[in-house]
Amino acid sequence: MRLANSAHGWGLVHIVLHWATAALIGWAAWLGWTMTDLPRFDPATFVTYNLHKSLGVTILLLAALRLVWRVSRKRPAPPPAMRPIERRLAGVTHASLFALLFLVPVLGWLTTAAADVPVDWFGLVVLPQPIDAAEPWREWLEDAHWLAAMLLLALVALHVAGALKHQLIDGDDVLRRMIVPTRE
């Protein structure tokens, strides 16, 4: 079992980062979806929002780690049977997913800064506020954060559909190699 990627498959580090990001997106999205129904000024609401923000910051950190890992390591080639249009679609989806892994948390961070509510990352580190409090911008940023998150989830759905197509229709090892680290 390798930590690093090779020409034959993904290493353990890439696989762990991928599934950790997937789990964090699911959790953060679930909280984001439900927390807006909570009473607006309540201690439990602040704790829930802060957890959502902590998860988002973690996704941002993992995205940065993944980017470094991705550009500095080899990566396996796509299955030879993939048509050029499919490769292009996969490439655009992956690049867009990557961009949104940065954009969604950053927009969230800006939203909470505009509302003058600092992020206390899991109660360990209080993050600096990238912008000064600005109520007029808050709603706009909140909408942008929501839209970007919806786009991210739509792309995740497309990404999952692609993986299922590889597994069930093409019968190749694209899904398997994201689960089992390469040995060579």
Partner: protein, 182 residues
């Protein structure tokens, strides 16, 4: 009998020598609290004070300040409304907070310990405000800071009682500028 007419004038003159009017543009009351471990600043935008002060006679000095709690502002409208609600300042039942001084004790130079009664949310506590008071002609500047414990005034009821989300200690800073009353 004609001389009697001078009495109010003389009284007014002797009193006005040490009375001051708050310059609202230049005066600020700010408080800082921690929300999820991070400092958040708020202000009270509307307040007034009746100030009598003469550095040569600090024993005669007095301040009665009234703060309109509804003017609370923390750069977040939702938070402002929350802070005005029954669990916090309960503005509906306690629209004003007051400070009434009891004693100005000189603490060297232009420093004074201002002892008085602070009433917030209907609860009164004795506090000591260390103040620096400097006078330049007809202009006076007073600045001071004190840290209050929000629990002393019943701020943060019910689920807010703990300090998980909002801390107990609240540093309050005053900067008051005033003009000598004519």
């Amino acid at each position: 009998m004609r001389h009697l007419a001078l009495i109010p004038l003389l009284l007014a003159f002797s009193a006005s020598a040490a009375e001051w009017r708050v310059d609202h543009e230049a005066s600020r009351i700010t408080f800082t609290f921690t929300q999820m471990g991070a400092a958040v600043e708020g202000t009270f935008e509307r307040f007034d004070a009746a100030i009598t002060f003469d550095a040569d006679a600090p024993e005669d000095a007095s301040v009665t300040a009234t703060i309109e709690v509804d003017s609370l502002a923390t750069r977040n409208g939702e938070r402002d409304e929350g802070m005005k609600s029954a669990d916090w300042f309960d503005v509906a039942n306690h629209p004003t907070a007051t400070f009434v001084s009891k004693r100005f004790t000189p603490a060297g130079g232009d420093r004074y310990d201002v002892e008085g009664e602070l009433t917030i949310r209907g609860r009164t506590r004795s506090i000591v405000l260390p103040m620096t008071i400097s006078i330049d002609g007809d202009r006076a500047r007073a600045a001071g800071e004190a840290t209050l414990d929000r629990r002393d005034f019943g701020l943060g009821q019910g689920d807010w009682a703990g300090d998980t989300v909002i801390g107990f200690d609240v540093p309050v800073a005053l900067t008051i500028e005033a003009e000598r009353a004519p």
